[in-house]
């Protein structure tokens, strides 16, 4: 099953409410996926810096990280810990060096995403617990996506929790299952992409990142995936400035969208959208199969 949600704000005055709106949407979708939950938030960012979302541990000593990474990050990185995750802000030019240093010195740490604006948090457990553990309700930003997981294709682990991020400021949540993910994964590995899990949804994220690396827009990448990804899927995708939705040609997995002058919202079911402001008067529709929907703001 799985539940997915997404919210893209058009009205800046709603930005302080992004986290609370997304948290409410996520919690309503618990019946669709009580195994794990996760979300990505696009908040403030400095174009010269990159934020690395790290899965560390509850008792992880971040001050040590600050000191030990100073040599490769060009001075002490800015570190913020939220429960089992740590957000590391470093100069964008040092990302590769810092990632290498983390891989070499801290094998227990997983980098779950990186971006100028994107932050990712995900864990096993009920969506309400995950949202409160990371204090989603108080996060602010322009757009965000979320996922509640009912595990089908791989184990109930934090590795299997969504969103999956395979490119800077890019992430994806997926409801469904891909039947040709092994073949696509081999092709993408050949193209130089790396994967950290055996999850089919990570392959979908990787595919879109690969297309966008080749110059495709988000809309074009979504359109191309229709020909190359086989299976059941509803994708909700975030990029630094955009938000996209795609359903497979059979449209097996449910989806509903709502748009007002203030926001565009996505939910696996309408129930996820009921607490959004003004939703009673929103344009509500079911996205068509094989049709990419996307919204982008001027960067």
């Amino acid at each position: 099953m799985c539940g997915i949600v997404g919210l893209y704000l058009k009205d800046k005055s709603l930005e302080p409410e992004l986290g609370s709106m997304l948290a409410s949407m996520l919690c309503v979708m618990t019946d669709r996926g009580p195994d794990s939950a996760g979300f990505a938030i696009y908040g403030q960012g400095n174009p010269d810096q990159v934020k690395l979302s790290l899965r560390t541990a509850l008792d992880f000593d971040v001050s040590r990280l600050e000191t030990e990474l100073a040599d490769v990050s060009g001075g002490g990185p800015s570190v913020m810990k939220r429960a089992t995750h740590t957000l590391l802000t470093i100069p964008a030019s040092k990302e590769a060096a810092v990632r290498n240093a983390i891989a070499a010195r801290y094998p227990q740490i997983t980098v779950v995403g990186s971006g100028t604006r994107m932050e990712i948090f995900k864990e096993v457990g009920l969506p309400a617990d995950v949202a409160s553990r990371f204090d989603l309700a108080h996060m602010t930003g322009t757009h965000g996506i979320g996922h509640t997981r009912m595990a089908t294709e791989s184990a109930v682990t934090t590795d299997g929790a969504h969103p999956f991020s395979t490119g800077r400021d890019q992430c994806l949540v997926h409801n469904g299952s891909l039947s040709n993910h092994a073949g696509v994964r081999r092709m993408l590995k050949h193209e130089g992409l790396t994967f950290t899990t055996d999850n089919d949804s990570e392959v979908a994220a990787g595919y879109l990142s690969w297309r966008m690396q080749k110059g495709a827009s988000l809309g074009e990448a979504l359109k191309e995936s229709l020909g190359d990804l086989d299976g059941f899927y509803t994708f909700v995708v975030g990029t630094e400035s955009g938000f996209g939705v795609l359903r497979d040609p059979i449209a097996c997995k449910p989806a509903v969208m709502a748009e007002t002058e203030r926001y565009v919202a996505f939910g696996s079911e309408y129930r996820a959208l009921v607490n959004l402001p003004g939703v009673a008067n929103a344009k509500v529709w079911e996205p068509e199969p094989s049709t990419p929907y996307f919204w982008e703001s001027a960067a």
Partner: protein
């Protein structure tokens, strides 16, 4: 729950869905109020499912899955969109969705009438067994798949594989058809068919609103019905 003369009002933010459906089910044993109003449906599943009494239920908003499923005798009006499987397995009565309907609207329904003012998506009328479905907008792919009886009238367009493996349901489409499914063919529209379609439009409150001559009729070529001895080698 408030009694206002002959109307019962349920607010699903204050009362439980189970209480609403139980009260509606109880009407089959002990007749009560004829008019029911459901406030704040908020996309909940199975609203007004399983009614077996001649009552009218107005649902003021969007509903989730299987609204008015298994309906018998009741009129259920959804003033919003409906999720998957609205009026699934309806036996009689009327279900009217004022907005759009999601997938499998009217699936396996044996009787009654389903009207959708907006669009219905994939698999509308799948395995329909006698229901009359009228969609004012478009329908999605695989609609009337394995349809066995009843009518599907669409004022807009139909998606791919219309009427795949259809038995005897009668399909009338005013707009375009993306493609026909296995064993579904266009049929001639005779006077009897036009009269039948006019009757269905009238029953849905649309008498005189559209010209029956604008519709094309589709149905079964009846080639999948029987075992053909010529194909014996394939088994």
């Amino acid at each position: 729950m408030n009694m206002i003369e002959n109307e019962v009002s349920f607010d699903l933010r204050k009362n439980t869905l189970r209480d609403l459906n139980q009260a509606l089910h109880d009407l089959s044993k002990t007749p009560g109020a004829k008019y029911w109003r459901v406030r704040n449906p908020d996309g909940a599943h199975a609203i007004a499912a399983g009614i077996k009494a001649p009552v009218t239920v107005n649902v003021e908003g969007h509903v989730g899955y299987y609204c008015a499923g298994m309906n018998q005798l009741a009129t259920v009006i959804v003033h919003g969109n409906a999720g998957v499987g609205v009026a699934e397995n309806m036996m009689s009565g009327l279900v009217h969705v004022k907005g759009d309907a999601s997938q499998a609207a009217g699936a396996t329904a044996h009787g009654g009438t389903l009207i959708v003012n907006g669009n219905a998506s994939a698999r509308c009328g799948i395995s329909m067994k006698g229901v009359d479905i009228l969609v004012k907008g478009n329908i999605g792919h695989m609609s009337a798949f394995m349809g066995q009886a009843g009518s599907l009238v669409v004022l807009g367009n139909a998606g791919e594989a219309l009427g795949d493996s259809i038995y005897e349901a009668r399909l009338f489409i005013r707009g375009s058809v993306a493609s026909l499914g296995a064993d579904c063919i266009e049929k001639t529209m005779g006077d009897k068919d036009k009269a039948y379609l006019a009757e269905k439009l009238k029953a849905a409150g649309m008498a005189g609103e559209v010209d029956v001559a604008e519709f094309k009729r589709y149905g079964s070529a009846r080639q999948l019905y029987n075992f053909h001895v010529d194909n014996a080698g394939a088994y």
